[in-house]
């Protein structure tokens, strides 16, 4: 059988990465979005999202990729993924209007024998509610991770497919494409697949919440969580890839969305979800850890303090600041001056009267009373704490993700605060 022509509708993060990676697999891909501000730059080879490896793949696969605003081009496709990003509000609630609009475009533009696959993150019940007589509709779980999207799209662990009837064989075009991805695929009813996506994220959040809780206990009793983690990773029941690094709560929007969805479903069905509420509470508690350190170690003693911040994105390798702990922190420091540097987030992403966007790490630490490393960007690892010690006015370095070398920070005479361990006090002249 000849390779099916694939379509991707919605050229935001998910659709764009998925489309380009499908081309890398050797398939012809038509990438559609009605918005010219999205499509035009792509036709020029400009990528609006930050993903390692994506520009190279786009350049390499130009011949197999077509970017268009013309929905009728989708009529050439055997299989069309509907993949717009689904925006969420502050409460983690999804706005489903964009995906409904994109789904309608896909149904209207494609042949009756074309397979339509919902790839966006949707609540359970969504896909079955959008079936059309005589049309073929599936749901597929996306596992996009910002900053690692290419790697995961090219080498998925498995593919989860939601079907109207899982006993019914997959259409040849879809089965052909799934086999090309070289990973197991599991078929199940729509609702199971939709809940599988949420289940994956809830398990990840459970790991994060567990790590955060025990990291806090470590801080109180003098244990070091980083010493415990390798032991857990060697346990087969936990595994080498488990989410065990403590952090500043969950961020980015997707995990929060799934927790909100589970709580909403519980509210409608009477299911007991106290555990999920605890995850949310723990996340909010840990998000404010840096603020608490500043209030106990710096702000009462330096009423006119300047706070240096390294990193504004919610995680490394992305420019996204959705629910970013750094921005939440800045929002609570309106009375103090902020000097912030982020490699990818430019300008002032938050309204703050004393916010200064620093051009370099060195500018962020200059005369700062405290330094907070809020995003674990790899390039911060090479920053020499001696430079900070010479440039800073204060002595406090807050490094939740252990980006800096704690020993070097302390040797530079700076106090070091991190998640999962007691603070280390800087060595002063005369200390042995």
């Amino acid at each position: 059988m000849t390779k099916p022509v694939l379509g991707f509708a919605g050229m935001t993060h998910l659709g764009l990465v998925s489309g380009i990676c499908a081309a890398e697999k050797g398939f012809k891909v038509i990438c559609f979005d009605p918005d010219s501000t999205r499509v035009t730059p792509l036709t020029r080879g400009e990528i609006p999202v930050s993903e390692p490896g994506l520009p190279e793949l786009l350049a390499k696969n130009q011949e197999r990729l077509l970017f268009t605003q013309d929905s009728t081009m989708l009529s050439r496709c055997d299989l069309v993924y509907v993949a717009p990003d689904v925006p969420t509000d502050d409460q983690g609630r999804s706005d489903l209007d964009p995906i409904d609009a994109m789904l309608k475009s896909a149904f209207d533009a494609t042949r009756d024998d074309a397979v339509i696959v919902v790839l966006s993150q949707v609540p359970p019940g969504f896909t079955r509610g959008r079936r059309r007589p005589g049309r073929i509709l599936y749901y597929e779980v996306e596992t996009l991770v910002f900053g690692r999207a290419v790697e995961r799209a090219l080498n998925p662990e498995r593919t989860i497919v939601g079907c109207a009837d899982p006993e019914h064989p997959l259409p040849p075009a879809y089965a052909n494409w799934l086999r090309a991805r070289n990973c197991p695929f599991l078929t199940m009813r729509y609702e199971s697949a939709e809940l599988a996506k949420i289940s994956i994220n809830c398990c990840l959040v459970a790991s994060i919440a567990t790590a955060n809780t025990l990291a806090e206990i470590s801080e109180k009793i003098g244990a070091d969580w980083s010493e415990i983690v390798p032991a857990l990773r060697l346990d087969k029941r936990i595994g080498p890839h488990a989410y065990l690094s403590p952090g500043l709560g969950i961020a980015g929007g997707n995990l929060e969305r799934d927790l909100a969805t589970v709580l909403r479903i519980a509210g409608e069905t009477g299911a007991e979800t106290g555990l999920i509420s605890s995850f949310v509470r723990n996340s909010r508690h840990r998000r404010d850890w840096v603020l608490r350190v500043l209030h106990t170690e710096v702000l009462p003693y330096s009423p006119d303090a300047t706070i240096g911040i390294l990193g504004l994105a919610y995680k490394e390798n992305t420019a996204s600041t959705k629910n970013s702990p750094a921005l939440a922190l800045v929002g609570c420091l309106a009375n103090w001056r902020i000097q912030a540097y982020d490699p990818w987030v430019a300008g002032s992403p938050v309204s703050h009267p004393g916010f200064m966007s620093a051009a370099r790490v060195e500018d962020a630490v200059k005369k700062a009373d405290a330094l907070a490393v809020m995003t674990p960007w790899p390039q911060f690892r090479s920053f020499d704490p001696q430079i900070a010690a010479r440039a800073m006015r204060g002595r406090v370095v807050i490094d939740p993700y252990r980006v800096l070398d704690a020993g070097k920070v302390v040797n530079a005479g700076l106090d070091y605060f991190t998640l999962g361990a007691r603070p280390l006090r800087g060595k002063r002249p005369g200390d042995s």
Binding site: D288, R292, C332, A334
Partner: protein, 293 residues
Amino acid sequence: MMKHHCQRPEAPRRVVILGARGFIGGAIQARLAAEGVSTVPLGHADLDLTAADAAARLKSVLQPADVLVVVSAVAPAKTVPMLIGNLHLLEPVCEAISGLRLSQIVYVSSDAVYADDSNPVTENSYVAPSTIHGMMHSAREMMLRSSTAAPLAILRPTLAYGPEDPHNGYGPNRFRRQAEKGEPISVFGGGEEQRDHVFVGDVAGIAWLSIAHRSEGIINVATGNSISFRQVAEMVAAQYDGRARVVSVPRPGPIPHLLHRFFDITGCYKSFPQFSFTPLKAGLKLSMQRTAK
């Protein structure tokens, strides 16, 4: 986090204080006076809230745009009659404020409204009082909430201490008095229960900020540092130059079910970022100095 109706602090035209002659009420009155705020301090002698005409009299005092601070209570409420009595005390207040367009109402409640829980207490902790005193404050919060459309600030202080405290409850005040009299400072058992102790001046400080910002919502008034009674006793003893010693006495009852109570005061950091609590050692010293005067 509290909602501030005035983003920049702004003194109100006038503040009426119910319970202004008491320990916390007096501290609030003094703080407002120091800030130059016009106040109408009312104690039991000025306005008897048990009198039949109490609501009418209070209404005649209150003016539109006033801030009303409610501290009046017979505390700690330990019995059912005290519970009922305290609710009756608030009845005329509720009657007087309903229909009035006050700028704000500030109610000084208590952390006793929270459930006993090993997790740090926040403003989002469950309200499920385990004592009559906590139930009293919880009910009074609800009474006020249902009687006014004005912004309502609820302050929930933990164990407050200070030189003017008329009570002799177990903790800093009693320890100081024992030391002053030359008696041993007695702690129950090992004195291992950890509690958060807040200086009364800080309760007044948070009350002032709540008023200056016309804040609405709930704020716990606690330092975020919990310490054992034994450590408090030793801290007090240290301030008497070796003249006081700490002794262990048998507990009057079983060891408390909730051995420790901790507070997460992130809500305070966010609501009043520039406020700093008086460290316990400094607060105890202040108490000692003021008592000596």
